[in-house]
């Protein structure tokens, strides 16, 4: 039985007993949509490495264990109900620049610009982020740097992302600050928690992009 199926059973019982069920976010239940979000015994997404809450199974626990389940805790992710939080801050960080400005139409042929395999693979590894927010939940500073670093890295590694690389990183960082995320002190908890194993190297890359953008920008 999976951890969330345990919640299903619990809720079913609560409903039959006339009580309110426990609200929690979940959708795909195969570890890719990023909706599920529980801090289980102090660990976002529970004890297994590179795993989401929905893919955690009850085998991870002993009979009779008491399990403490909490929502993500961060000011930027206000609790909506029970174990649900509002992660729209992430959407707004993306809105600030987590895209390449290209309209639908007739872009150049996909093979017009070759991209070396290493960069493409690194970009993919960064792009694997599911936007669940576990990095923020695990970080002692509630920093969203792994999330933002992954997006900035993905687009910085690809030639298509080059024209907007300066404004992108500056705007995304400004939005993170505005949303109330903390700064990165490189403890490494985010990397160890990330269900997709996104590396904190991406944070360093964001830092580089940021420094370059500030130092080379012509604005006063």
């Amino acid at each position: 039985m999976s951890f969330l199926e345990m919640f299903d059973v619990l809720n079913e019982r609560l409903i039959e007993e006339g009580e309110d069920p426990i609200a929690f976010d979940h959708d795909c239940r195969e570890g890719i949509c990023g909706a599920c979000s529980m801090v289980i015994d102090g660990k976002p997404h529970g004890p297994w490495a590179q795993n989401t809450t929905c893919q955690l199974h009850m085998r991870a626990f002993q009979d009779g264990d008491t399990i403490i389940v909490e929502p993500w805790r961060a000011k930027a992710f206000p609790v909506v109900k029970d174990l649900m939080v509002d992660r729209s801050a992430f959407d707004r960080v993306i809105q600030a620049g987590g895209y390449i400005s290209v309209n639908t139409g007739n872009p150049a042929d996909a093979n017009a610009i070759p991209i070396d395999k290493k960069s493409a693979d690194d970009a993919f590894a960064a792009a694997a982020c599911i936007g669940c927010g576990a990095c923020v939940a695990a970080c002692k500073n509630s920093s969203a740097m792994l999330f933002a670093g992954a997006k900035v890295s993905q687009l910085a590694l690809l030639p298509q992302g080059d024209p907007e690389r300066k404004t992108r990183v500056i705007e995304m960082v400004a939005q993170m600050d505005k949303e109330g995320f903390g700064s990165c002190t490189a403890t490494g908890a985010c990397e160890a928690t990330c269900p997709k194993g996104i590396s904190i190297t991406n944070i360093a890359r964001l830092n580089k992009e940021y420094m370059r953008a500030i130092l080379s920008s012509e604005e006063a």
Binding site: V39, D41, G42, K43, I68, E70, R73, A74, K75, A76, A138, K140, N141, S142, S143, M145, K166, I170, V173, A174, M176, D177, G180, F181, G182, S183, C184, T185, A186, T187, G188, A189, C190, E191, A192, T193, I200, T201, N202, I203, A204, R205, L206, N207, K208, E209, Y210, M211, R212, A213, I214, S217, E219, A220
Partner: protein
């Protein structure tokens, strides 16, 4: 996109922390180099000459102002960061996260920094301040720092405070050295590994060398 962002944004603050931190690391190298002069075991002659070069010469004295400036930026920025970061959680967790993926000292940089600061206040008031007062804050005559050390480090509690300060420094460097490079955007894994090795070596060796000094005096290892 002004320079102001380098000081005020969450990433900018870390950049300044990293940059000032690395400057302070450079200073540590100079400082530990000077200290090692006592092990010439010549009754402090070599040490005092080196100290004189630093204290009785305009160039290092001007640099010294920069050092204090960076030190203060590092401290103030660090405290602001810590306070701001602490405020970001809101409600805390019932059960703490533990050590997965992170070391206690990585999470305790502010605490370690404050311990170092306390040590620094004592250290500066032991040596630097009396010397500069004696000099009239100009290039006046210096006191014999070697002798002063002998006296200072014969006091047990001072030696203990120094040792605590240096242990804090070791852990502070253990995280800070490589983290500074990360903050400055070094993301190549090859260099990261190298820097981790250098950082760990530095974090162990430099504070150890520093610690040898009060210990040597206290236990009378020097002639």
């Amino acid at each position: 996109m002004s320079f102001k962002k380098l000081l005020t944004s969450a990433v900018g603050r870390k950049l300044t922390m990293g940059a000032t931190g690395l400057f302070l690391v450079l200073f540590l190298i100079v400082h530990v180099g000077l200290n090692l002069c006592i092990f010439a075991n010549d009754g402090g002659e070599m040490f005092n000459r080196a100290a004189h070069f630093m204290g009785g010469n305009w160039v290092p004295r001007v640099l010294e102002i920069g050092l204090f400036f960076f030190l203060i930026v590092h401290i103030v920025q660090g405290l602001i960061l810590e306070m701001s970061n602490r405020a970001k959680r809101g409600i805390g967790y019932e059960k703490s996260y533990g050590n997965r993926g992170s070391k206690w000292y990585s999470r305790s940089m502010a605490l370690l920094g404050i311990l170092i600061l306390i040590f620094l206040i004592l250290h500066i008031s032991n040596f630097w301040l009396p010397n500069r007062v004696h000099q009239g804050f100009l290039l006046g005559e210096e006191i014999n720092l070697y002798d002063r050390m002998k006296v200072t480090f014969s006091i047990g509690w001072i030696v203990i405070v120094y040792l605590i300060g240096l242990i804090a420094l070791a852990y502070h460097l253990m995280h800070g050295f490589q983290s500074a490079f990360r903050s400055l955007g070094v993301h190549n894994n090859k260099y990261n590994k190298l820097l981790t090795c250098i950082g760990r070596g530095f974090a162990i060796i430099v504070p150890l060398l520093f610690a040898l000094m009060p210990l040597s005096f206290y236990f009378g290892w020097l002639s």
